[in-house]
């Protein structure tokens, strides 16, 4: 690893002219603080709201509940009673708007004319006679400006160094950030909007209490300490480079610096290095909360919701309105940022699995049953026969999280040579793991031969449809007296 000290132009104290100096270690740190600015111009990954690009952030939806008025009634003789009047009812809105988009990028390896990267002071023989400037290699550039900054993007927060990352906010115009779109709303019934004198009221009359938006941290380059001010001869203290096109030495601007650095950041932070890859989730096991936590509140009924309106002797109206005070509904949900490899949440760690039942020359029916249970365990049951055996089972497939967040698919072929039968949860179809799924091969006939199911078991998460683990399953039953 070779870290170089790039050169830049600086006026000596009290002078107006400028000289060439190498950056100090602090100066290099200040350049590296500008990496966020470079990344934010075209981040990878990026977040989009809605659409079809990328994949849904895991852990959605955000659930917003609110109460609606019931339908109104009319009667020509008297008021319908409260029991006769339709009740207020709870409405649930689910928001799954956040999508994470990873662009497939490659690590830049080129070096145009061998002069693409910043200059540093150089003397091939250590003497001043041959002293001059040398362009960094691409490896020097990575070692000096890329690798040192990669870890600064994780950990959450909205500082300059986090530019190009995303967080959740309730502000419509957050400072140094750009609103990407709405992640979720928290609505409540607008109790004050309902009036008995106006029956029939429109059932849904809501207040939008809070809009939760996703914002991108997006500082201007002028926030950098390298900014010299609009009236300075050079606006930024940035590294110098040799422009082979004009055959001149130039000093980088934020735009040219970002253009040089951004592709490297897009590669490393966008999946090119698992240790540095940025990811986002909602309430996941990985990462830290970034921004405001989503909280769902709703007007919880307190007191009578029953209202009446006498219009005339032939028109008696009733309607139930939401009433009460706002209370928190369900658990909060946090938008999280994570840097690094994701935790393993599900796995068929002990696979391949097998389960067999054989009468071993004796009488008696044989069953070989394989279960993927909603408790997070795979096991073999009912392996009656003599003996009933299994391997790899039982096994805990759900390491953390909710079973319903995953789907299992068993794609198999069956060979029934011994008169057996198969009971199947499905072949080659994705099945939600919130319900225990069972496959069974049975043999109660005296036909000689083995009955077998052999296939490939996969599990994926519902949010991203990404397959998390797989193994083979071999089940057999042979009743052979």
């Amino acid at each position: 690893m070779t870290v170089r000290a790039p050169v830049y132009m600086l006026a000596p104290l009290g002078e107006t002219y400028k000289q060439v100096y190498p950056f100090s270690a602090q100066g290099v740190t200040e350049i590296n603080d500008l990496a966020g600015y470079a990344f934010a111009l075209n981040p990878n990954p990026r977040i989009e709201i809605g659409g079809t690009n990328g994949t849904l952030a895991a852990g959605q939806p955000f659930v917003d509940t609110w109460w609606s008025a019931g339908a109104s009634t009319t009667d020509v003789t008297n008021f319908d009673t409260a029991a006769e009047t339709p009740n207020v009812f709870k409405v649930t809105d689910n928001y799954s708007n956040i999508r994470i988009v990873y662009d497939s990028v490659t690590l830049p390896t080129g070096d145009t004319n061998n002069t693409q990267y910043p200059l540093y002071l150089y003397s091939p023989d250590g003497t001043e006679v041959n002293a001059g400037f040398r362009a960094m290699s691409v490896t020097d550039f990575i070692d000096t400006f890329v690798l040192p900054v990669l870890d600064s993007f994780g950990g959450g927060g909205q500082t300059f160094q986090k530019s190009g990352t995303y967080y959740m906010t309730t502000s419509a115009a957050p400072a140094n950030a750009t609103i990407i779109g709405t992640a979720a709303l928290n609505q409540e019934a607008n109790v004050a909007a309902y009036a008995a004198s106006s029956i029939p009221e429109t059932p849904t009359q809501n207040n939008n209490i809070t809009t939760y938006s996703i914002a991108k941290v997006n500082y201007p380059a002028t926030t950098s300490v390298l900014w010299e001010g609009a009236t300075a001869p050079l606006l930024y203290d940035l590294p110098m480079y040799f422009d082979s096109g004009t055959e001149s030495i130039k000093q980088h601007t934020p735009a040219t610096w970002a253009a040089l650095l951004n592709p490297f950041l897009r590669f490393y932070l966008g999946g090119g290095s698992s240790a540095h890859t940025i990811s986002y989730n909602v309430n996941g096991a990985d990462g830290v909360t970034n921004g405001t936590v989503f909280t769902d509140t709703a007007i919880t009924t307190a007191g009578s919701t029953y209202n009446t309106r006498f219009v005339n002797a032939d028109d008696y109206r009733t309607q139930e309105f939401p009433t009460g005070t706002a209370t928190v509904q369900g658990a909060s949900k946090a938008f999280k940022i994570h840097q690094g490899a994701l935790s393993t949440l599900v796995a068929f760690a002990s696979g391949p699995y097998s389960a067999s039942a054989s009468s071993n020359g004796l009488s008696g029916s044989c069953n070989s049953t394989f279960n993927v249970r909603n408790t997070g365990v795979c096991d073999a049951t009912g392996t009656s026969g003599n003996p009933g055996t299994s391997s790899g089972l039982p096994d805990t497939w759900l390491i953390t999280g909710a079973a319903a967040d995953y789907e299992v698919r068993f794609t198999y072929t069956q060979t029934l040579n011994g008169g057996g039968t198969v009971t199947s949860a499905g072949n080659g179809v994705w099945l939600n793991c919130g319900t225990t799924r069972t496959w069974k091969v049975s043999d109660s006939s005296n036909t000689i031969g083995t009955n077998n199911i052999l296939g490939f078991l996969e599990i994926r998460d519902v949010a991203t449809l990404t397959i998390q683990s797989s193994t083979t399953v071999d089940m057999s039953a042979d009743q052979d007296p």
Binding site: Y17, Q19, D111, N113, N114, T115, Q116, Y117, L119, Y122, P124, V129, N130, A131, G132, F133, R134, A135, M136, S137, V138, D140, F242, E247, I249
Partner: protein
């Protein structure tokens, strides 16, 4: 006495070269050689360490 052409000083009484509109190749070479003789060299190397430019600079002693 100053050396004049069409009433304009070309070399003044104080030996200042003045009002020279251009230089011919010989003069350019002479001036260039004078600068080279000062031996103030700035070398530019590419990332492979190959010297790609050798720049001879005028000596500006007023600026340390």
């Amino acid at each position: 006495m100053a050396l004049k052409i069409n009433g304009l000083d070309v070399v003044s009484d104080t030996y200042v070269l003045s009002n020279v509109a251009n230089t011919d190749v010989t003069t350019q070479t002479t001036i260039n050689s004078a600068i080279i003789n000062q031996n103030n060299i700035l070398r530019i190397y590419d990332s492979a360490g190959t010297e790609i430019r050798t720049l001879f600079c005028a000596n500006a002693t007023a600026q340390p």
